[in-house]
Point group: C2
Chain length 333, copies 2
C-alpha cells in the first residue's frame, strides 16, 4: 500500500493553449477518512473539454478550479476504508476527487456503481456525463424527428459518438464532422453514421451540401468557432442547434466573431446552450436508456487511455487539440 498520495495541482492558468507547465505533480500525505467519509483509490480519471474552462478564471457556469489545489475531475475508484455504513472496502464508486491517486469524501457524495455487467470506466463516458449530455441534448433540445438530418461535430468524441448513434436509432440521417480521415472512417464504419466530413480537408460548406441534400434539421455543436458559423448557413427552416461545447473558443485568447447569426432570424432557428447539470434530477432516465443500448450491443463505444496519473496533463492537452479518439481516460496505477 502506498504511503503518500500523488496529486496533480493546477499551478497556473493557461494563456491560450494549455501547457504541462500549468500543472505541478506533488506527493501529499495519505488522507484519512473522518466519520461519515470513505477513502477511495482512484482507478480511472476522466479527461473532458470542460476542464479547459475550469482552468481559466473567466466567468463561467461554475467557479474556476483553485490555483495550487488538486485539479478537478471525475474518477471511478475503489473504496479502501469506510467510516459510513453505506460503503465497504472493495465497492466501486463514482467520485469528484479529481487528479489524485487517493482521496477522501463524504460517503453520500460517492455513487456506488454496478460493475457486474458494465465496465467501471463506462460510468465516466457512455453511461456518465458525456452519454447523459448526448441523451438530453439530443432529445430535449435537438428534438429530432424520424427522417430529419442531424449533424454532429466532434463526432468521434465521447459526446458526439453517442449523439450520432442515438440519432440513427431514432431514424435520422446522421452526418458527423471530425478531424482527419481516421476519425471519419471510424465514425462511418464502426459507429454507423451515414457520412462523416473531415473538416481538416477544407470545403466544409460544399461537403455539407453534398452530404445533407435536404439541409440540416438538428446540429449538435461540440466545437463552436468557424464550424458553428458555417453550420448556421446550412440550417433548415425551424431547425435546432444544441450548443454543448465551444472547444474552439476555450483556447482562443480572443473570442471568435460569428458572422452568420442572421440565419437565426431568417430560418427561425432555435439555438440553445446546455450543461448536463440542468437535468440532474433526470439522470436515471438517460442512464437506463443508454445502459439498455450498451448491453444489447446497439451503442458502440471507444476509449482512449493514457497510462499513469503523471501523464494526465499530456492527455488533456492532446484532447484539447483533438488528438484523442473516443472517450479520453487516464488509467491510474
Amino acid at each position: 500500500m502506498a504511503t503518500t498520495n500523488t496529486q496533480v495541482l493546477l499551478a497556473s492558468r493557461p494563456a491560450g493553449w494549455v501547457t504541462e507547465d500549468n500543472f505541478r505533480i506533488v506527493e501529499a500525505p495519505m488522507p484519512e477518512p473522518s466519520e461519515g467519509e470513505a477513502l477511495v483509490r482512484n482507478r480511472w480519471l476522466s479527461l473532458d473539454p470542460y476542464m479547459r474552462g475550469r482552468m481559466s478564471d473567466a466567468k463561467s457556469y461554475v467557479p474556476p478550479a483553485a490555483l495550487d489545489a488538486v485539479m478537478v475531475g471525475q474518477t471511478v475508484g475503489e473504496v479502501q476504508a469506510s467510516r459510513h455504513p453505506s460503503l465497504v472496502p472493495g465497492d466501486t464508486v463514482l467520485t469528484d476527487l479529481g487528479w489524485q491517486a487517493f482521496g477522501v469524501a463524504p460517503a453520500k457524495t460517492l455513487r456506488k456503481l454496478d460493475v457486474s455487467r458494465i465496465p467501471a470506466s463506462y460510468y465516466l463516458g457512455v453511461l456518465g456525463m458525456p452519454g447523459i449530455t448526448a441523451w438530453f441534448g439530443l432529445f430535449d433540445i435537438g428534438a429530432p424527428k424520424a427522417g430529419d438530418t442531424l449533424v454532429v461535430s466532434a463526432a468521434s468524441g465521447a459526446v458526439g459518438s453517442v449523439v450520432g448513434q442515438l440519432g440513427k436509432h431514432h431514424g435520422c440521417r446522421v452526418v458527423g464532422i471530425a478531424g482527419g480521415p481516421a476519425k471519419c472512417d471510424y465514425v462511418v464504419r464502426e459507429l454507423g453514421f451515414d457520412a462523416c466530413i473531415d473538416h481538416k480537408a477544407g470545403g466544409l460548406s460544399e461537403a455539407l451540401r453534398a452530404q445533407c441534400p435536404d439541409g440540416v434539421d438538428v446540429y449538435f455543436d461540440n466545437v463552436g468557432g468557424p464550424i458553428l458559423d458555417t453550420m448556421l448557413r446550412a440550417m433548415n427552416l425551424h431547425s435546432r442547434i444544441v450548443i454543448c461545447g465551444l472547444v474552439a473558443e476555450y483556447n482562443a485568447t480572443e473570442p471568435y466573431g460569428y458572422r452568420n447569426l442572421r440565419a437565426v432570424l431568417v430560418k427561425r432557428i432555435r439555438m440553445q446552450g446546455m450543461i448536463v447539470f440542468d437535468w440532474a434530477d433526470r439522470y436515471g432516465e438517460a442512464v437506463a436508456g443508454l445502459a439498455a443500448l450498451v448491453a444489447s450491443g446497439k451503442l458502440r463505444y471507444r476509449e482512449s487511455i493514457v497510462d499513469g496519473l503523471e501523464n494526465a496533463p499530456k492527455g488533456l492537452i492532446a484532447l484539447l487539440k483533438g488528438e484523442n479518439f473516443g472517450k479520453q481516460l487516464v488509467k491510474l496505477a
Copy 2:
C-alpha cells in the same frame, strides 16, 4: 376620380443604406377588376424594417421584391368597385397591394376590417403585423414570468412599444433601449416602461447593470449588431432571447461579427428567431387580446405619418435610420 395610378417601383437594389435612387415613381393606367376581384384605393401604407430585406436579393425567408415592379407592402384601403359578393364599395380592407395609389386583388385576399371602434390605420400597427409579432414573440418565445426583467430594443418602435407594455401588464420589470433622449422619455413617461437606456449615449453595459440589477431574463431583440452582442453578456441563467429583427445588419455591407456567443453555452440561453407568418393560424388570438387592451386604453400607441405616396422612400429611409417615432405610416391622398 383619378384616371391614372401612381406607383412607386423598386428601381435598383441598395448597396448598404437605401437611397431615393433605389425607387422610381411612375403613372400607370388605372387597373380594372376582373371577375372575383375588387379595385381598392389605398389610404394607408405601412413602412416596416423588413422592407430593407425584401429590397435585397440575399437569400431570406421570402423571395426578394422584383426590380421594376411595385414595391411590396401592406396597406389599408377602401373598396372602389367589386366583382365579388363579399365586398361592396366603401368597405375598408387590409391588402398586400404595396406602394401604389390603387390596386386590384382577388376579393378573398382582402381582409375586411371593422373600423367602427378602431381607427383603420391601427390594423397596420398595434393590431397588425407589428402588434401580432410582439404578442407571439414575447409570450411564445420569450415566455416571461411575473417578476422577470425584460429588455426590449427599438423600444419606441411599432413592435418594441407593444412588447414592453405587454411585459408590464404581465408583471415584468421592463427596460427599453432606444436612440436619443426624446424616445427614451416617451418610452418611460407615455408607455410606462420602468426605464429606458439611450444607446446613443454610450456605456450600454454599465447602464444595463444599473437598470437591470437582477440581470436580464428575456431580451426581445429588434436590432441585432453590437446591441445584441452586448446584451448576450447581460443575460441570466436559462434566459431567452427573441430574435425578431436585425436592423443593424440590414444596411451593413458586411455582416456583424458576434463575439459573445459563448454566453449561450455558459448561461444556457435559448435564442430563437421568429417571423410572424409562422403563427398565421393563430393571428385571431393575438388580435383579440391586443384589441381588448387598446379598447380599454391599456395599450398606448403612436403613429409617425409621412404625407403622400411620393414621400414613401424618404419615410422608409428615415425608419431604417431610426429617425421615426412609433409606427411609421404613409398617408395617401
